[in-house]
């Protein structure tokens, strides 16, 4: 204690002395230099605040959307039973050509960041349009089987030459090939490739069990999550109510199945679903 006190006294003495008695400080280490550092850029405080608030606003909106997604659909003022909704939607689509007036479904999906986007395919009880499948094979038995399964056109190596010459109209949605004919297809890859028709084992369009493959792809519609939503065309306006409802139910099942197949730590939430037409209003439905 006494030591500290005496030190304090000394200090007082030093400072009370006139300046000329103070010795200049001696440096024991030499000077060092550092590279130039620029002072941080000063943006205006207003802009920074606005940015922060925008972020907060987005977070709040996201949270609100999540809460809303958990509410049952019939709590929403935009909710309707499907038959009633269809009455309005068909009226909104009056006098439009049938291929233009289509009903589509849009579902919000809430998943954690980093979870792979949902994807899958729906098999509709009533398909929107006929899918045209072409089957190429050297084996006549396979070709007959393909025709029985529902392929619209079958062909062998002569057909490939026709494609190369441009004499065949390529109005197919899919071309399936068997393994024996695959090497011959390389010369038409430049024609089929850009149209997305080129058969390849990777895409699952080269197989020896043609009949099964056709059965899997006929009447299916692929879907994929984009921007937190799954949207796909479900029916045409000239379908009757029962057909539309059946198609919607099969879509719902397919989406739930693909959710159960996707790996995620937290459960993926299916949000509100909107039924709409090309020109009509969006109406919330039970999904």
């Amino acid at each position: 204690m006494s030591l500290i006190r005496s030190a304090q006294k000394c200090q007082r003495l030093v400072f009370s002395q006139p300046q000329k008695f103070l010795l200049p400080l001696q440096r024991s280490t030499p000077f060092s230099t550092t590279s130039l550092v620029q002072a941080p850029k000063k943006g205006s405080k207003k802009a920074a605040d606005a940015k922060k608030q925008l972020e907060k606003k987005q977070q709040r909106r996201e949270a609100r959307r999540k809460i809303n997604a958990k509410k049952p659909a019939h709590m929403s003022p935009l909710f309707m039973e499907i038959p009633q909704a269809l009455r309005y939607l068909r009226a909104a689509e009056t006098g439009r050509p049938t291929n233009e007036a289509v009903l589509s479904v849009e579902t919000a999906i809430f998943s954690e960041r980093g979870v792979a986007p949902l994807q899958g395919a729906v098999r509709f009880p009533r398909a929107l349009k006929e899918t045209r499948i072409c089957v190429l094979s050297l084996d006549p038995v396979q070709r007959q089987a393909a025709l029985d399964a529902g392929a619209s056109v079958v062909g062998d190596s002569k057909f490939i030459e026709d494609i190369a010459n441009g004499t065949v109209e390529l109005n197919f949605d899919k071309i399936i090939a068997t393994t024996d004919i695959e090497p011959q297809l390389r010369k038409v890859a430049r024609i089929l490739g850009p149209k997305g028709l080129m058969p390849s084992a990777k895409r699952g369009t080269v197989s020896d069990d043609v009949a099964k493959l056709i059965g899997d792809t006929l009447g299916t519609q692929p879907f994929r999550e984009r921007n937190g939503r799954v949207a796909l065309t479900v029916a045409r306006c000239d379908f009757n109510d029962e057909e539309v409802v059946k198609n919607i139910i099969s879509t719902s099942k397919a989406i739930k199945e693909s959710i159960s197949n996707t790996k995620s730590k937290k459960p993926i939430i299916v949000g509100q679903t909107v039924l709409t037409t090309t020109h009509g209003p969006g109406i919330m439905i039970n999904f």
Partner: protein
């Protein structure tokens, strides 16, 4: 208690309601057409030379007619005319096909959509739909329905 402020995103909801109500009940067009089998409307793609009435009739009145007569087939054909001569020649016509096989035509050129509607009602002897059968969506009715389900 007034219903105002009880719904989030009210502006969006009101917009939707007014749109749907316009489909269900466009002024002077909620009629039942029991004698009609099919309606066919033919007009030009461009508005000029008296074809605007037919277009408005399609976009406004026909929606309501479809809403109350789901079984009546409605076809709309719009013709693209490139030269002026073609445009002047192109007819603007509403063809009415009756259940008993007769047909009648309404010339829509240089007429307003309301006038076309009146003529259609006169020709087909249409019956006005009861007010009770026309659904009207309002926020008040929605709030009431919600409270009833709660009780």
């Amino acid at each position: 208690m007034s219903a105002a402020g009880t719904i989030t995103g009210q502006a969006r909801v009101l917009k939707q309601f007014s749109y749907l109500n316009k489909i269900a009940n466009f002024p002077n067009s909620a009629y039942k057409l029991p004698q009609v089998k099919r309606l066919e409307l033919v007009f030009k793609q461009h508005n000029a030379y008296g074809h605007m009435g037919a277009r408005k009739f399609w976009l406004e009145n026909l929606k309501t007619i479809n809403f109350h007569n789901p079984k009546v087939e409605i076809d709309v054909k719009r013709i693209l005319c490139e030269t002026k001569d073609e445009q002047l020649k192109c007819p603007s016509v509403l063809k009415v096909y009756f259940e008993d096989g007769k047909t009648q035509q309404i010339d829509c050129k240089n007429k307003r959509s309301g006038a076309i509607m009146e003529e259609l009602v006169k020709i087909t002897e249409a019956e006005k739909v009861d007010d009770a059968d026309i659904p009207v969506l309002t926020i008040d009715s929605f709030v009431e329905a919600q409270q009833q389900t709660k009780n």
